[in-house]
């Protein structure tokens, strides 16, 4: 398959999600981040879970907690197509998605898939959305 030649921010990079998450994880302890982590853990018993607060990349101040990315590795996803995997994640975070959680990037893999390919694309850049902000460079 051809490479995914979108803007650089969408190119699949090796490990940046993990690196960024590790860097952020120590500090990603805002209340919503903790809630997301707790609810996904309870609902899906993940073998690996990363919760990334992308809010600063969407114009919010640090700690705004409006845009998140989650990487969930769980055996619960086995046999499920991506749509159903994402629905499981949505269901676990239903209250948050009805409230402060404005956007949610989801990567949902089984443990086998994660072992064979521990890479994940980064989130696309914000283009302003409802706030109609200036386009990020």
């Amino acid at each position: 398959l051809p490479e995914f030649p979108l803007s650089c921010s969408l190119s699949p990079m090796r490990g940046p999600l993990l690196a960024a998450a590790r860097g952020v994880m120590g500090g990603a302890g805002g209340p919503l981040a903790l809630t997301i982590r707790a609810k996904l853990t309870a609902a899906l018993q993940p073998t690996h879970l990363e919760v990334r607060d992308d809010s600063p990349r969407h114009g919010g101040p640090p700690g705004a907690e409006t845009h998140f990315g989650v990487l969930v590795v769980s055996g619960r996803f086995a046999g499920l197509p991506p749509l159903q995997r994402h629905r499981l994640v949505h269901e676990a975070l239903r209250a948050e998605l009805a409230g402060p959680l404005h956007a949610l990037q989801i990567i949902a893999r089984t443990p086998q898939q994660w072992q064979s390919d521990p890479r994940a694309p980064s989130a696309p850049p914000c283009l302003g959305g409802s706030k109609r902000e200036r386009r990020r460079g």
Binding site: L1, P2, F4, P5, L6, S7, L10, A42, A43, R76, P81, P82, L83, Q84, H86, R87, L88, H90, E91, A92, R94, L97, A98, A103, L104, Q105, I106, I107, P121, A123, P124, P125, C126, L127, G128, G129, S130, R132
Partner: protein, 159 residues
């Protein structure tokens, strides 16, 4: 798995088998989404008409010419890569009733939303996955749309 998650899964799975979006949980619980009544632009009937009006329908923020959200832009870019320029795009920022109505219809909480042949396939993450694993080329083929990437590969083979 909690009962709520199991229920959501069954509804989602059943909906996928039926080939259309299932009844949203909020409706099942008796709560109104506010956009279901009458013939408003967010009603099920109105949304149903929109998702069926073209093989490829996208609900997004902004327009294909000027997306206003990175995730919506990703969908536009992916379709463009496959040579799909003729599709219906609806800017939910212009219509709050539609914005809520489409979420109720698909029982999916976020925008963008991609519909192929009237069936909800997912948002930006799923479309990206389908693009990377070849599924999107196959789904477009089922709709009678030949992905531009097939021709690109053919040209490369000739060289």
């Amino acid at each position: 798995m909690s009962a709520a998650v199991r229920t959501g899964w069954r509804i989602g799975a059943a909906a996928a088998l039926r080939g259309r979006a299932g009844r949203p949980l909020s409706q099942a619980a008796g709560e109104g989404g506010g956009a279901e009544s009458g013939g408003g632009s967010g009603s099920r009937e109105a949304v149903e008409r929109l998702v069926r009006e073209h093989p490829v329908v996208v609900f997004m923020k902004g327009s294909p010419a000027q997306p206003l959200c990175g995730f919506s832009n990703a969908v536009v870019q992916i379709l463009r890569l496959h040579g799909v320029e003729d599709y219906r795009a609806h800017d939910v920022l212009q219509d709050p009733d539609l914005r809520q109505g489409i979420k109720n219809y698909s029982n999916w909480p976020t925008i963008p939303q991609v519909y192929l042949n009237g069936e909800f396939v997912g948002g930006c993450d799923i479309l990206l996955q389908m693009h990377q694993n070849g599924d999107l080329v196959e789904e477009l083929k089922k709709l009678g749309i030949r992905s531009a990437l097939l021709d690109k590969e053919k040209d490369q083979e000739k060289k």
